[in-house]
């Protein structure tokens, strides 16, 4: 029996198809990634799985049972780390954890013990007595995760848990996710940070404009762009003439400006350098650097949608 199955799930907000008939499955014990740019429909999907938003169509099955018909079994076993901090700022860290533990039916010594364990996992034990409005962004994020772990959920959903925090807290969170997974927790991890999803997830679905455009393991997804190469070129001066000349090269599939670089994708990695140097020499620009990129999910997304993940 599949642990979690999403079938033909649909949600519209007025004329916007936020989620448009998507299908995927999550296996017990895996970290499943939902990757996509902002507005792709990841959070809406998560909201429907976590029973906050009712879908317009389709269904979600938890251990074979529809959560639309009976959400209680999932709610008891589900931990959600929302994208926004969802805590009471004027309460202390300890009071917040105690409240969220109460909400999931924990009381007395068991609750105390779980707060102890969770505060160790998230690494803020010594700050629990302080009001969380005095915490740094990274510490709030960690407590936000901690509040979802108290009742030892079977399924943990993490919606962009590392947005807007320092690298140290980010690394701590990523290590925590791996640790929890090692202990057997099933995790759905959504992010628009390709590196995080690549690092954590065993299987990934890529979303764009409310649809899943590709699914599989990282290796399977990179296979989609097999033979394609991504080359980033830095010039002293980027002009329309320069871009026009590069586009004249017949085996270049895509040309895009990403910050101060020109990114090209091609399926002919051997002869391309010679042709590029020839074409650039016909303009006023000079090449400063050439960087051949290893295929990754960013390339896959670019290949499938024609735009960068961070667009």
């Amino acid at each position: 029996m599949t642990f979690l199955k999403v079938r033909e799930l649909k949600k519209h907000f007025k004329d916007v198809k936020a989620v448009n008939e998507i299908n995927f499955e999550v296996k017990k014990g895996e970290i499943f990634g939902l990757l996509g740019p902002n507005g792709a429909g990841k959070s809406t999907t998560i909201s429907m799985i976590s029973t906050l938003v009712h879908p317009d169509g389709g269904d979600i099955f938890y251990k074979g049972e529809s959560i639309l018909k009976n959400p209680k079994p999932l709610q008891k076993k589900l931990g959600v780390v929302p994208q926004e901090i969802a805590l009471y700022p004027t309460l202390t860290g300890y009071e917040n954890l105690r409240f969220w533990g109460n909400v999931y039916g924990l009381n007395g010594s068991l609750l105390k013990q779980r707060i102890e364990e969770v505060s160790k996992i998230i690494g803020i034990k010594d700050r629990l007595k302080h009001q969380i409005e005095k915490y740094s962004g990274g510490m709030k994020r960690r407590l936000n995760i901690g509040a979802a772990l108290l009742h030892e959920p079977e399924l943990l959903i993490m919606d962009e848990p590392t947005v807007g925090i320092d690298p140290q807290s980010r690394n701590h969170i990523l290590d925590t996710v791996l640790e929890l997974n090692k202990k057997g927790m099933t995790i759905i991890y959504t992010s628009h940070y390709m590196e995080e999803v690549e690092y954590l997830c065993s299987r990934i679905s890529i979303m764009d404009q409310g649809q899943i455009i590709a699914s599989g393991s990282k290796g399977e997804l990179v296979e989609i762009i097999k033979g394609n190469k991504r080359i980033n070129l830095k010039f002293d001066n980027i002009s329309d003439t320069l871009l026009g000349k590069i586009k004249e090269i017949s085996y270049i599939n895509n040309v895009e400006i990403i910050s101060d670089e020109v990114a090209i994708t091609t399926n002919n990695g051997e002869a391309i350098f010679k042709d590029i140097i020839n074409k650039v020499s016909e303009t006023d620009s000079s090449i400063l650097s050439i960087d051949v990129k290893k295929p990754n999910l960013e390339e896959v997304f670019l290949h499938l949608t024609g735009k960068a993940l961070r667009d």
Binding site: L52, A86, Y88, L91, F99, V103, Y104
Partner: protein, 390 residues
Amino acid sequence: MLSIIKLRFLRLRDEYLIIVIMTAMALGLTAIFGTSGLSIYRPTVLIINEDSSSYSEMFIEEMERDSTFKFEMSGYDEAAEIVDEGKALTAVLIDSDFGESIDRGDTPNIGILKVTDDRYIFTLERLISSISNRMLTNVRIAEITVGYLENFTDINREKTLMSIYDIAEESWRYRRPITVNREMINVDGNGGYDHLKHTMVGFSIFFSTYTLVFSIGTILSDRQYNTWQRILISPVSKASLLGGSMIASYIIGVFQVGILILGGRYLFNVDWGSSILGVILIAAAFVFTMTCFGLLLSSIVKTYSQLATVTPIVLISTAMLGGCLWPLEIINSRVLLTLANLTPHKWAVEGIKDIAMYGSGFEAAITPTLVLAGMGILFFGIGIKMLRFE
């Protein structure tokens, strides 16, 4: 549900200042306005005297001793016009045979020109009846005494009659010729308007509404903190979430109103009347209604800041209409009095005043309590319907 109630009490540290300030405001403003005596309301009563005897003059003099009303002399036509326009509560018509009736020992004919019946008219009727009965008794005492004295000596009948009448009247006033053991069934002697009580009741009702609305309004700050959504996806049911929030607000409201009732009793020596149970019942029903009203307001606005903007406008206007800031007795407009019936404030203020000021018993609490409960259920129903759970 218990976890939600505990949370709300825990979060009181964000709001305790509102409760303290509103309670202090109610007590402070009662001290300022209630005891200043600057704006004591006394309805105007016109007197049309068609009698020329000294009895009618004594009758008028007696009436003017009563501080509940402001008496003014007037002609019949003028009085009819003024009463019809609502500029005076009523006019008392002393018939031309008033003095003769007293002399005969008959109850004198006294007419009352009125547009509506209210508790002031009732109080005035009791006052008139009390004075005329006393006059009749005094005359009877004087006649019996003079008759007795005439058997022994030669006296000036008229002069002696008046003299004995005065002695009898004085005895009523100071010497308490009759002693009655009584239980208090009425407050403040004649059960008239008491400005301090009105101020105490009005301000208590008015300022408690702020605490109640802002207390249930914390569900909006939950939304702002994203914890509302987080609770909704937990095993806590929507009923527990709302029920817990409402119970906590209700307890906070009852606690504050309780402090105000006790504050009135011990700081201002306010006598809450013969049915404290009735006063508590109305106060409890009002707290319920305003908690539901707070829920309704919270379901209409989107954020806590919007609630903070809208609430004073709504609460001040309903308090003005409902008679919290001034007595409804001074309002003549039928439109305003009809609108007042639509506010919970009116039912609470008038209900409590009926008991504490006008001497009614527990039965006076039943109608206001039922109306308040009905309003509360209506506000709750609409509030739930409009509240966003996604």
